[in-house]
């Protein structure tokens, strides 16, 4: 059974086209939660993402893809993943706090967050959604089949016409063309329609083929009408499907909910114990350099593309190319001069500077920029 994702968020349409930043950042209540899921720091709300980008020049990485085709990743959507350095910086500045997402959900759903009857209602709602989904899928499949059959009939009629004009009347036709596969997207229908198409090819008195195969249509009147005449068969069956209220159990599709806040209350239950505060995110030794560059107004992105730790943009990455490939080090950390040479060469080749830096003393960061001299 295909798994169908339904979103229950109903977003209000944007009130105006004003994206220039005059939208008050109080639309996002500070401090914002950052969700820690399996060692990754995630944000799911677009308003938060925009506010962080605009006000705190933190960009993160969008990692959301289509569920059925994750390899289509030229453009990704929400959720946004933050680097540990970004998360720590936001927490240190008091802009955000980290939530252990798993813990919060367990507590929300299991430990008195939801009452027994609330949970039951939610589960029933999910089942109803699943039933709706199943019905919609079936209706779509039936419509596709109807279209396919109509095409099939037209083709057949043209063939008969040709035959009758050329060779004389002969109602017996050759094996009909298969219904083009693009009209049948649902694989469960193929055996079905294969047998139905043979039905339309042969004359009406060969009805016994219609019996004994699994019928997509469970109501008796459907199978009868299918046997009687192909022209009126499918429209009736689709119509009858729409009016059917009970859906068999095997057609209820399982739903994975994408939001937590219809089932969970918007404002947490006051009686629930508070979640334990998490420690600051652990960051690599390059964090002082990150903080230093961020304080100078640079937008920092992961530097995996160029074999460095960060790429520093002088402004929004959508408007500027990055200026520096950055590596943060301990003040006394040994590094091979070859690495410096490699970084400097690479940087010059792609019109960027190679920046290395660290904390000379507590709270005193210092950076050096390397580029090839040209001689």
């Amino acid at each position: 059974m295909p798994n169908v994702l339904f979103s229950t968020i109903r977003r209000p349409p944007p009130k105006s086209d004003d994206m220039s930043g005059s939208k008050p950042s109080s639309a996002v209540s500070a401090p914002v939660p950052i969700y820690l899921v399996a060692h990754r720091y995630m944000l799911y709300d677009i308003d938060t993402v925009l506010a962080l980008r605009r006000d705190h020049h933190i960009i993160g990485t969008l990692i959301g893809t289509l569920p059925q085709s994750p390899q289509q990743n030229v453009f990704c959507g929400l959720p946004l993943e933050l680097m540990p350095e970004e998360a720590r910086l936001l927490v240190e500045e008091g802009v955000a706090y980290v939530v252990d997402d798993v813990q919060a959900h367990k507590q929300g759903f299991l430990d008195r967050g939801l009452s027994g009857e609330e949970r039951k209602m939610y589960v029933n709602a999910l089942q109803r959604q699943g039933a709706d989904a199943g019905r919609v899928t079936r209706i779509r499949a039936a419509e596709r089949k109807e279209r396919g059959l109509a095409q099939q009939r037209q083709k057949q009629a043209r063939k008969d016409l040709n035959k009758s004009t050329i060779e004389g009347a002969d109602t017996q036709t050759e094996d009909g063309d298969e219904i083009p596969s693009n009209t049948l997207a649902d694989p469960t229908c193929t055996t079905e329609t294969g047998s139905v198409s043979t039905e339309t090819d042969k004359t009406v008195n060969e009805e016994d083929d219609a019996q004994g195969h699994d019928s997509l249509f469970t109501s008796r009147e459907d199978s009868i009408s299918a046997r009687e005449g192909s022209r009126s068969a499918t429209p009736v069956s689709v119509r009858s499907l729409r009016h059917k209220l009970t859906v068999p159990d095997d057609e209820i599709q399982p739903i994975t909910p994408t939001t937590s806040y219809p089932p969970l209350p918007q404002h947490p239950n006051k009686d629930a114990p508070p979640l334990p505060t998490l420690p600051l995110p652990t960051v690599p030794t390059s964090y002082p350099l990150f903080k230093f560059l961020h304080s100078r107004g640079y937008f920092l992105a992961p530097g995996l593309r160029f074999g460095c730790q960060y790429m520093a943009y002088p402004g929004d990455p959508l408007r500027y190319h990055s200026h520096f490939l950055c590596n943060g080090l301990d003040w006394d950390q040994d590094f091979d001069l070859m690495e410096l040479v490699g970084g400097g060469r690479l940087g010059t080749g792609v019109k960027k500077g190679f920046l290395i830096g660290g904390e000379e003393q507590e709270g005193k960061p210092r950076a050096f920029c390397v580029e090839w001299s040209g001689m």
Binding site: D334, V370, S373
Partner: protein, 238 residues
């Protein structure tokens, strides 16, 4: 870097030594220098490369921190200063300014820009550095190498001139002591010329972070130079 042959006398020319080896023999470190012999020889090899491969002039070797703008007590390794034949580095904003001025004056292309004196820090490619070492080097140097600091080097077949060195390749023996070998009049009053008197220091030199050229000597005797800035300086438009 292979060591030169031990010879008791350094001044007479030994035809069995290469030019570089003879040069190293000819230039002993001053007695008050505390650096090791290999650091000295490395500096000499880089100085030789600057002079003969790249045509630098007024090459001087420094063993002590600069008298001005230096906060460190000692220079961790000998450092070279010299004058490149053309301007080596122009800050991207300075490039824009120069071009704008050209446009205002109705000219096309680049004007003549006088070269600026640069520091060169020698290093071997296999060395491992730390950020602290870079910091120490920068702390011991001034923003612009001073004219008369450091020791002159003895290049064979060169006339010993005070401060200037006539470039044999140009056949120019006229190099008078105080005059600039590069007779191009600076287009802007702020350019640092080789003699440095009478001209205000270039604001792009003093307003920007310090810079040095890091010379990396490889085992095949090639030397490649990288510009290192003591701060965040945006890359040039190349």
């Amino acid at each position: 870097m292979s060591t030169p042959r031990n010879s008791s006398s350094s001044t007479p020319e030994d035809p069995t030594l290469s030019g570089l080896h003879q040069f190293i023999q000819d230039n002993r470190p001053p007695r008050d220098a505390t650096h090791e012999a290999h650091a000295h020889k490395l500096a000499l090899q880089v100085a030789h490369n600057l002079r003969f491969q790249h045509g630098w002039t007024e090459i001087r070797l420094h063993y002590h921190p600069s008298r001005q703008q230096a906060t460190a007590h000692s220079l961790p390794r000998p450092v070279i200063s010299g004058l490149p034949p053309q301007r080596l580095y122009m800050h991207p904003d300075e490039q824009i300014e120069v071009l704008q001025r050209q446009r205002e004056q109705g000219k096309a292309g680049w004007p003549e820009v006088a070269p600026e004196r640069e520091w060169v820090v020698p290093s071997q490619l296999q060395e491992s550095w730390t950020l602290r070492r870079f910091g120490d080097v920068f702390d011991a140097l001034s923003a612009v190498p001073a004219e008369k600091e450091g020791g002159r080097l003895h290049f064979a077949n060169a006339i010993q001139l005070d401060g200037d060195e006539g470039l044999e390749m140009m056949g120019n023996r006229s190099g008078s002591g105080a005059g600039s070998p590069f007779n191009s009049t600076p287009e802007r009053e702020g350019t640092v010329t080789s003699n440095g008197n009478g001209h205000a220091p270039n604001k792009w030199r003093t307003g920007q972070p310090k810079r040095v050229l890091l010379a990396t000597l490889d085992d095949d005797s090639t030397v490649v130079y990288y510009i290192v800035h003591d701060g965040i300086v945006k890359p040039r438009q190349n």
